[in-house]
């Protein structure tokens, strides 16, 4: 079976002023469908650039990038947009929900740009489905400001899922969340992954990376580590532990 993502001597160079910044240097990487990967590295390591490129927001400067068999480097702006729309679900650190729209409307947004378009009734149906998948079935008419951070991130995940993508891309998805909510969100990802969704996540938190199946470490635009996670954490168990700890603390005081 062909890899879902295949990078071959992938490089990305930016021109900032007179300086040429080699954000990613000749990286080769394969990711199969069904994987759950954390891309790690310090800031400036090139992980965000990798993420943007894998997310088809950008084309490689040199080298090749195939997404689901499509040579992304040869696509135009509109074709990239369509590819993002159909095959990729984005999750951001800052959630990036439209503040004036309800949760349901936010989730419907990617379907607005679907070509060919689908009927309005089906849109609502699919949005509701996605909302129940992240456990917020009763919050469809809430605005982002009426939801907690964790709930907002769940809405964002539902938005990412609504067009049935092949791949979820999460950029520091737990960066703005407390420990418990972070683990809950990782639980959502693990659940989705178990159902077959490929998840790629950028993070700099080591303990969060341990919920994934594979860790890729970057430094100075190169991959310096690529290992399978051995002692993988399970979100359900960790939440259980956390709850017991809380109880212990409360009993102690």
């Amino acid at each position: 079976m062909a890899a879902l993502i295949k990078l071959e001597n992938f490089s990305k160079t930016y021109n900032s002023g007179e300086m040429e910044v080699h954000a990613v240097r000749s990286v080769s990487l394969e990711i199969q469908a069904g994987e759950f990967i954390a891309i790690m590295g310090a800031s400036g390591s090139g992980k965000s650039t990798m993420m943007n490129s894998v997310g088809c927001l950008d084309r490689p400067t040199s080298g090749k990038f195939w997404l689901d068999g499509v040579d992304v480097g040869s696509l135009g702006r509109d074709q990239l947009a369509d590819l993002r729309n159909k095959k990729i679900g984005f999750i951001f650190q800052g959630f990036n929900l439209l503040a004036r729209s309800t949760a349901l409307e936010n989730i419907e947004l990617p379907m607005l740009y679907l070509r060919p378009s689908i009927p309005a009734r089906e849109q609502v149906e699919r949005a509701n489905q996605a909302l129940s998948m992240v456990g917020l079935a009763d919050r469809g008419d809430h605005r982002p400001s009426q939801l907690s951070g964790g709930q907002q991130q769940r809405v964002a995940i539902a938005r990412a899922l609504v067009n049935h993508p092949k791949l979820l891309l999460a950029d520091e998805p737990t960066g703005n969340l407390d420990t418990q909510t972070s683990i809950e969100i990782m639980g959502v990802f693990q659940d989705l992954n178990r159902k077959g969704m490929t998840v790629i996540m950028v993070t700099h938190e080591l303990d969060i990376a341990r919920y994934c199946k594979r860790n890729v470490v970057m430094r100075d635009g190169r991959i310096v580590g690529d290992t399978a996670v051995t002692n993988r954490l399970d979100a359900v168990e960790e939440l259980q532990k956390l709850r017991l700890e809380h109880q212990a603390v409360q009993l102690a005081t």
Binding site: N52, G55, L57, D58, R77, D78, A81, D82, R84, N85, K86, F90, F92, N96, L98, R100, S101, L109, P110, L112, Y113, L114, S117, R159, A160, N163
Partner: protein, 405 residues
């Protein structure tokens, strides 16, 4: 992407900042309103002048004493006093194609009837004057040639004058005193309404010119002579024949200028409509400038909006919006702004025209074409001034846009 969904989205985006939206629309509202109001004032003036010129009579040629084309400061209508009774008689006798002619003298006088007293304008003419100037006679009858020859003291009252002097009572047969001379009212004229300058054309009394010259205006010359040609086709020939006849009679040598002015009704109409057209264009273009400024206001706000919402644009692009989707979104926002503004502006414009008509007593005429045109222009302005900001949004780099804060 479905257009209706985009329009809904645009309306929601505009509702986000109601005050800003209203202020931006205000530019278009004022612009469209001003264009409609100004054009309807211009059109109204023109329509009124046209109807006034029509009320001058059919195929009428005005022979005025004095030369208006001499330039510089005119001597005033009729001040030269060069038209005599003999000139008038020669005109009717010698020029072919004349169906009627009447001299005209004018003066103001105090008129009394019973205990009513009014100052009104007195027009002296021949028995053909009322016919040539297309006055109708609603009660009684016109005076006859015998009255003119004998300088009889008979009078036709304008509708307003009759109303002032006699109220609802019967005027015909009553005696009025013009400068203390008793005149018998023989008829009452139909209404013509007010003219372009707002003067009531019905506030007059028509009497035989002979009586007028004897008792009211004095003098021996006429202010003007109205000549009616038989039909429109013969009118130019009559005009040139009149010119030749008068030059001969006044012994004006070749190369010297006329001491009279001849204007056909058509020339007067052309001149009047040309000047109102200039006024309409002038008013319209001043209003158009404010519409343009309104458009620039829209562009300004849309640019601000694009910058403010850079991150939103980035998110939309990340989840699959094409450049054209973003372009359409912002373009529709601008068009919604301008079309709603234009719609409100139409209401204000029509209201404004109506208010001007009421308060200033000016005739205004709201034409459908000016309403449709300025409404479409406002939509066009939305597209034109919305395009640049929308294109700017559409060309954003998604990565840069997502990073923006």
């Amino acid at each position: 992407m479905i257009i209706i969904a985009t329009i809904r989205m645009a309306i929601r985006a505009l509702q986000r900042n109601t005050l800003r939206t209203l202020l931006t629309m205000l530019g278009i509202i004022i612009g469209v309103g001003a264009v409609i109001a100004m054009i309807s004032i211009g059109n109204g003036a023109r329509a009124q002048i046209e109807s006034q010129i029509a009320s001058l009579g059919q195929n009428v040629i005005l022979v005025m004493s004095g030369n208006f084309s001499r330039g510089g400061i005119g001597m005033g209508f009729g001040s030269a006093g060069t038209l005599t009774k003999e000139d008038f008689e020669a005109m009717t006798r010698e020029v072919i194609g004349v169906s009627g002619a009447s001299p005209e003298v004018r003066g103001n006088a105090q008129v009394a009837a019973g205990n009513q007293n009014v100052n009104t304008s007195i027009i002296g003419g021949s028995e053909e004057y009322a016919v040539i100037r297309s006055w109708t006679i609603t009660s009684g009858s016109n005076f006859i040639d015998q009255d003119v020859r004998s300088a009889n003291k008979v009078a036709l009252l304008g509708k307003t004058t009759a109303g002032t002097l006699f109220g609802d009572g019967e005027a015909v047969g009553q005696v009025i005193r013009i400068k203390n001379a008793p005149f018998v009212v023989v008829g009452v004229l139909g209404a013509k309404g007010s003219d372009a300058r707002g003067f009531d054309q019905d506030d007059i009394i028509i009497i035989p010119y002979t009586s007028a010259m004897k008792r009211i205006t004095g003098g021996t010359t006429f202010r003007s002579i109205s000549v009616q040609a038989m039909d429109a086709a013969s009118s130019p020939q009559v005009q040139s024949d009149l010119n030749e006849l008068l030059r001969q009679r006044h012994r004006i040598q070749d190369g010297k200028e006329d001491d009279f002015t001849i204007r056909s009704q058509q020339e007067i109409a052309d001149f009047a409509t040309a000047s109102t057209k200039v006024m309409t264009v002038l008013l319209g273009s001043i209003a158009g400038v404010s519409l343009l400024v309104g458009g620039i206001g829209i562009m300004n706000i849309m640019l601000v909006s694009v910058t403010e919402r850079t991150r939103e644009i980035g998110v939309r692009m990340a989840i699959g919006a094409r450049g054209q989707d973003i372009l359409l979104q912002f373009l529709i926002e601008a068009v919604v702004l301008s079309v709603v503004g234009g719609g409100v502006g139409v209401i204000f414009g029509i209201g404004g025209a109506y208010a001007v008509a009421k308060t200033q007593n000016w005739a205004t005429l709201v034409s459908t074409s000016s309403v449709v045109l300025s409404f479409l222009t406002s939509a066009g302005i939305g597209i034109f001034f919305g395009f640049y900001p929308a294109r700017k949004a559409a060309q954003l780099d998604p990565i840069e846009a997502l990073r923006f804060d």
